[in-house]
């Protein structure tokens, strides 16, 4: 069982994987699947496309790792998130011209969410808030949404965002501020509950 003391660093898992340990890779996948998948989903807005892209991202990562082309200096998560972001952006741009038709043989977009234990009402309420929140994030102006996804879901620093998007740190920070303020306003507008118990 993993805990803070025994949890192996990503870099060690990557080394083990490169040396043929598939269990190490499974650990990496399980550790980061939610963040990577959510990042993709936030950009492409379609679960089925996100599932396909998730596979594409990992195929790319696996091939890079197994061919010995992985740069040890970079950290695993930011590296794979960058791959995910780039593939998702490419897909999103293509899909804008050719919208995806969702097939009817899969689960609901929100059925795969993981929630903390609680009463049925608690779980339902959290589900509703999270669902609405993701929808509202999609409604933000593009520049604000981009910074929010990069900072929150991709865990990039404001400096990294600034470097990647070609704006100053203050501009990136300002966009994040507007994104969060707008998000909060929209939530109030749609009466999405602000419940202090969520801190618990």
């Amino acid at each position: 069982m993993n805990n803070q003391k025994t949890m192996l660093e990503d870099s060690k898992l990557v080394s083990q994987y490169i040396n043929g340990n598939e269990v190490a890779f499974e650990e990496l996948v399980n550790r980061h699947k939610s963040r990577i998948f959510t990042t993709i989903y936030m950009i492409v807005k379609d679960q089925y496309v996100a599932e396909d892209l998730m596979q594409e991202v990992f195929i790319k990562a696996i091939r890079t790792l197994k061919s010995g082309r992985y740069n040890e200096e970079g950290k695993f998560l930011p590296w794979i998130l960058r791959i995910a972001h780039n593939l998702a952006i490419d897909k999103f741009r293509k899909n804008k011209r050719y919208p995806t038709i969702v097939m009817d043989d899969g689960n609901s977009v929100f059925e795969t969410l993981e929630f903390a234990e609680g009463t049925f009402e608690d779980i339902q309420m959290k589900k509703d808030v999270h669902k609405s929140l993701r929808k509202l994030i999609q409604e933000l102006p593009e520049a604000q949404k981009q910074v929010l996804i990069m900072r929150h879901y991709m865990d990039m620093s404001f400096k990294e965002i600034s470097d990647q998007t070609g704006v100053s740190i203050n501009t990136a920070l300002g966009r994040m501020r507007y994104a969060l303020i707008n998000l909060r306003k929209k939530m109030q507008q749609y009466n999405i509950a602000y419940d202090q118990n969520f801190y618990s």
Binding site: E22, K33, S34, A50, I59, K66, F110, L113, V129, L133
Partner: protein, 80 residues
């Protein structure tokens, strides 16, 4: 006198991008400024909601990825 902090400072604080000295001063300010404290709670709440709203890919996708990994062997060139 307690330093005045902006919403941007709070965002950096919530996302753990402030320096230790700033952290100390922000904590002091939060004790004295109720409006700032409210803003801070709102930011924390939003952050928590966004964390809670993370999604998972299907098991099928994960299994496909793991199976692909086991099947592919690219024989990397190793340098000792």
């Amino acid at each position: 006198m307690t330093k005045i902090f902006t919403h941007d400072d709070l965002i950096r604080y919530v996302y753990e991008e402030t320096e230790p000295e700033e952290n100390r001063q922000i904590k002091l300010a939060l004790n004295e400024d109720m409006e700032l404290l409210d803003q801070y709670h709102e930011l924390l709440w939003l952050k928590k909601q966004m964390d809670g709203g993370m999604m998972n890919p299907s098991e099928k996708t994960i299994n496909t990825i793991l199976e692909y990994s086991k099947a592919v062997n690219l024989h990397p060139v190793k340098e000792d």
